[in-house]
Amino acid sequence: MANVVNMEGVYYKLKDYYILENVNLTIKKNDFMALIGPNGGGKTTLLRLILGLLTPDKGNIEVLGMAPGKSKNIGYLPQKSSYQSNFPISVLEVVLMGRYKQLLKGYNKEDMKSALDSLKKVEMLHLKNQQIEKLSGGQLQRVFIARALSRKPELLLLDEPTASIDPHFQGKFYEILSKIRKKMAVVMVSHDIGVVSSYVDSIACLNQKIYCHGPVEESVEGLEKAYKCPIDLIAHGFPHRVLREHE
């Protein structure tokens, strides 16, 4: 089975400085990877390259065996959606867009079911007919999460999904992820290193270059290099002491 994502020697330049430099990254089937790094480290850029929204200056990217942008079997939660906030559209209609297939193909029963299911998962089903301009920022984020989930893709890209979400739903969100992660590869950008590290299989640390990429336990050193400061992987208040306990 080919990898879900294969990046080899990828460079991405803006004007005259490199945002990404010699990035090599593989994501395997059913991988659950956290993409971690400081603000401006290039995480969003990396996801947009995988999606084909940006083209690398050098290097090779393959997504689900195709060129980026060719495979549409991808779920995406953008960090900053470019949506129109006062658009005349309901919550359910927004989520259905995650089920878009191709020109001239309407949404069928299965699409509707998947959309409603995802809304239920993010606890927004009761607001399915709500006008989106009447939602709070966090509620909207949940709708966009549902939109990404409803696709049931082979690859799910989540860019800072837990930003603007309340603690209750954050717990619920990780629960959702641990349920679906057997069915797809998931890449999640996050700054909650402590929490995330107890759920994911691997961590990639990105700050212009990939500083590390591997199982959680082996990634601590790279993390510190990427962030340029020591990192305490055991977050305060979280019970999952999975890391380097016996060293």
Binding site: L51, L53, K72, I74, Y76, P78, S81, S82, Y83, Q84, F87, P88, I89, S90, E93, V94, M97, G98, Y100, K101, Q102, L103, L104, G106, Y107, Q131, R147, R151
Partner: protein, 268 residues
């Protein structure tokens, strides 16, 4: 009030008002929700080049306006991406070049240009039968295209980037939408004239937008409002012997203000 309907030209005018309202209600909805008012203004003015071309070639200017405005719509939508140019600059350039071309074409045409004013300011009372037929065909094309691509139009209007990720060919769909704007411009030329077209493309949808959040209902409401308001304008222009295009636009403007006030009262 109804006796003026007995005149043949009045009947034609009402048919024209109906055809106009279908185009501006359906396409105008997208113009308003996708916020492409400026580019639509550009397309409608550039269409004057097509009118001039008609005079030059000695064919019906409404016919020659069709390819001309579609091509300028496609150029406005794609030029900004092809060369390093912001879209609004591309619009401004094509807007004025289109109009200038129209003037040059008319200069070059033999003789003088009869009823040039009707293309600039509209004359819904004198729409010939052949033009009504053209308007009907264009309306059918518009309705058919929206029927086929409404999902994509909504998707790119709401969130173009996400639509692209989901596999919507968003650039192509945007160009098709602009081509529909171009076709509705042609439908509207005879009714209100090039200079006032943008009023019909925006006002009915902008009024309806205040009262519904559902795109199909928004289109329906805009069409119905369009019929009522243009007929009202037509009747008033007949009654007071005023220019029909301008009267229609004044009625639309007044209706918008009244609706805005009503909405304020409604929600307080």
């Amino acid at each position: 009030m109804l006796e003026f309907l007995q005149y043949q030209f009045m009947q034609n005018a009402f048919i024209a008002a109906l055809l106009v309202s279908i185009a501006c209600g359906v396409v105008g909805t997208y113009v308003v929700i996708k916020k492409i008012v400026f580019i639509s203004g550009g397309i409608s003015h550039a269409a004057f080049g097509g009118i001039g071309l008609g005079y030059l070639l000695g064919i019906n200017p409404v016919l020659s306006a069709i390819p001309f405005s579609v091509v300028s719509a496609v150029l406005m939508g794609s030029l900004g991406k092809k060369i390093e140019l912001s879209e609004d600059a591309a619009i401004g350039i094509l807007w004025s070049v289109g109009m200038a071309l129209g003037i040059i074409f008319i200069n070059l045409s033999p003789g003088y240009a009869p009823d040039l004013f009707s293309y600039l300011f509209g004359s819904i009372l004198t729409v010939p039968y052949q033009d009504l037929l053209i308007m009907l065909v264009l309306d059918l094309i518009i309705l058919g295209t929206v029927g086929l691509f409404h999902r994509e139009f909504t998707a790119i209007s709401f969130d173009e980037e996400f639509a692209e990720v989901m596999g919507v060919p968003s650039q192509l769909i945007y160009i098709i939408l602009l081509a529909l704007v171009a076709l509705s411009v042609v439908v509207l030329i005879k009714a209100v004239g090039i200079i006032l077209i943008i009023a019909l493309l925006t006002i009915p949808a902008a009024i309806s937008r205040q009262f519904t959040h559902h795109i199909p209902r928004l289109m329906m409401a805009s069409v119905i409002l369009g019929v009522i308001l243009t007929s009202m304008g037509l009747w008033l222009s007949f009654l007071f012997n005023l220019a029909s295009g301008a009267t229609i636009v004044m009625v639309l403007g007044a209706a918008f203000f009244i609706s805005a006030i009503l909405k304020k009262i409604w929600y307080t």
